[in-house]
């Protein structure tokens, strides 16, 4: 959920909408925001599954320190989504385990 208005920070400023692809589905998000923030704003809290137990993980530190929020972004696994900005057309996938490089998968 986005915080549209705030007693101290004021109303959310106008931002340009762009589209990212999340697990194959297009999603409208705002330019300049972090991937994890955009996903959480749209109700997606669970960003990856662990290697062995396949248990779900979401953000933990929110500042790029813990790596709990990693996803596969444009074919590159283990990208910390809490500190990576969305780009128009970016392809984002919920990551299983260590993930795989997209290039290898397609070869």
């Amino acid at each position: 959920m986005r915080i549209d208005d705030h007693p101290v920070l004021g109303p959310l400023e106008e931002r340009k909408q762009i589209t990212i692809i999340v697990d194959g589905e297009p999603l409208k998000v705002f330019e300049g925001e972090m991937i994890a923030a955009a996903l959480i704003a749209n109700g997606k809290q669970y960003l990856r599954k662990t290697v062995k137990s396949h248990s779900p993980r979401g953000i933990y530190c929110g500042i790029g320190r813990c790596t709990d929020c990693v996803m596969t972004v444009d074919g590159v696994p283990n990208v910390r989504t809490c500190i990576t900005e969305v780009q128009d057309g970016m392809v984002i996938e919920t990551q299983l385990g260590y993930g795989t490089w997209k290039q290898e998968k397609h070869q």
Binding site: M1, R2, I3, H6, P7, V8, L9, L12, E33, M34, A37, A38, I40, A41, Q45, Y46, L47, T50, S55, P56, R57, G58, I59, Y60, C61, G62, I63, G64, R65, D68, C82, I83, E85
Partner: protein
């Protein structure tokens, strides 16, 4: 290898203040931060600060941050963002990774480490579930990214970060169901707990979280009372309907760079654990290395700024940018300001702990 006079690592309140003070003294300064924006934790601090006029009391953290950056833009300060310092070699060489393709080594005359701190974790059954996060993470989400991580929150820990973030979650439109504290006393300033309490949020002392439940996401939390030996008392479990659990269990100084560079370790539980030894001028045992802010012991943004000033001033003085008289007078002013922040029933403990570090042989 490129050369610079003073390199500051970390552009939080401590690093920015250090850079400003050094540049005002005439030194040329390079400040490096791994983030896309300078400011460190300051831009999540939307509350008005304590202190007196000279500490910029009554001004919100975000506005102090904006002012620091504005001031820096008028001085001889070079800023590298999105750049991570990955090592300090031979006491003077700073290795910086600037992008996936580029790393640079900068040779400095003096280095000021102001890397801040990280939040401590607490583990309990279910703590890895999405929806369990650091209080600072929630603060970052609401105040920087303007996204609510959840509507119904349980806060673990009643120190200042726990109560400030609880208040800010309420301001952002969330409902804080409870603040639990394992100790018998609440940790944060009474004025902070009082404003959270009158907003209807209950505090539970001698209580901890036992379990986070849910499938792909937190859907409830179990809290439990603790006995005098800090053991859960069976039968006192309570289930709370929450979708988010925030952990505010203190901070640990981000000391890896300093220790790898040869700084001596001193243990200070009050200030967050192992910290680099330093003297009153913020200089470490490695003569070219200074530290400031949370990395030298976790306190608050206002003390971080004063320590930054001390470090920046001392580094500039060691490079002979200012005369002794001027140094002494500016240094003593900063010391006086910092001492007044480290007073009263909260500050006193930190002042004693700081002195113990400085006097540690």
């Amino acid at each position: 290898m490129i050369e610079r006079e003073i390199v500051v690592i970390g552009a939080g309140p401590a690093g920015l203040s250090a850079a400003l003070e050094a540049a005002r003294s005439g030194a040329s300064v390079l400040i490096i931060d791994e983030n896309h924006r300078p400011g460190g934790q300051l831009f999540k601090q939307i509350h008005k600060f304590f202190g007196s006029h000279e500490h910029r009391a009554g001004v919100r953290g975000i506005d102090i941050g904006t002012q620091l950056i504005e001031d820096a833009s008028h001085l001889d300060i070079e800023v590298w963002l999105d750049s991570e310092v990955c090592g300090i070699f031979h006491e003077r060489e700073v290795w910086v990774v600037r992008s996936r393709e580029l790393s640079v080594t900068v040779k400095a005359k003096s280095i000021i480490i102001a890397t801040g701190a990280v939040e401590n974790a607490v583990n309990f059954t279910g703590w890895t579930l999405p929806g369990v996060m650091g209080a600072g993470a929630a603060q970052t989400m609401i105040n920087i990214h303007r996204v609510l991580p959840g509507k119904k929150v349980l806060m673990i820990g009643s120190g200042n970060v726990g109560v400030i973030v609880s208040y800010q979650l309420l301001q952002a439109g969330a409902d804080v169901k409870a603040v639990v504290e394992a100790a018998g006393r609440l940790g944060g300033y009474g004025v902070h707990t009082a404003k959270v309490r009158r907003a209807g949020v209950p505090f539970y002392t001698r209580t901890t979280v036992l379990e986070a439940r849910g499938n792909d996401h937190v859907s409830e939390a179990v809290i439990v009372s603790l006995d005098d030996a800090w053991k859960p008392i069976p039968g006192t479990e309570k289930v709370l309907d929450v979708d988010t659990i925030c952990i505010a269990a203190g901070l640990t100084p981000l000391v890896e760079l300093a220790f790898a560079a040869g700084c001596r370790k001193v243990y200070s539980p009050v200030l967050g654990g192992m910290v680099p030894w330093h003297d009153a001028s913020m200089r470490t045992n490695v003569p070219s290395l200074y530290i400031a802010g949370d990395v030298s012991g976790v306190e608050e943004a206002s003390t971080a700024m004063e320590e930054g000033r001390l470090a920046g001033l001392s580094a500039a003085y060691s490079l002979r940018y200012i005369e002794k008289d001027e140094y002494d007078s500016r240094f003593n002013d900063a010391l006086r300001r910092i001492d007044s922040l480290r007073s009263g029933m909260f500050g006193e403990k930190r002042r004693i702990a700081k002195h113990a570090i400085i006097n540690h042989i």
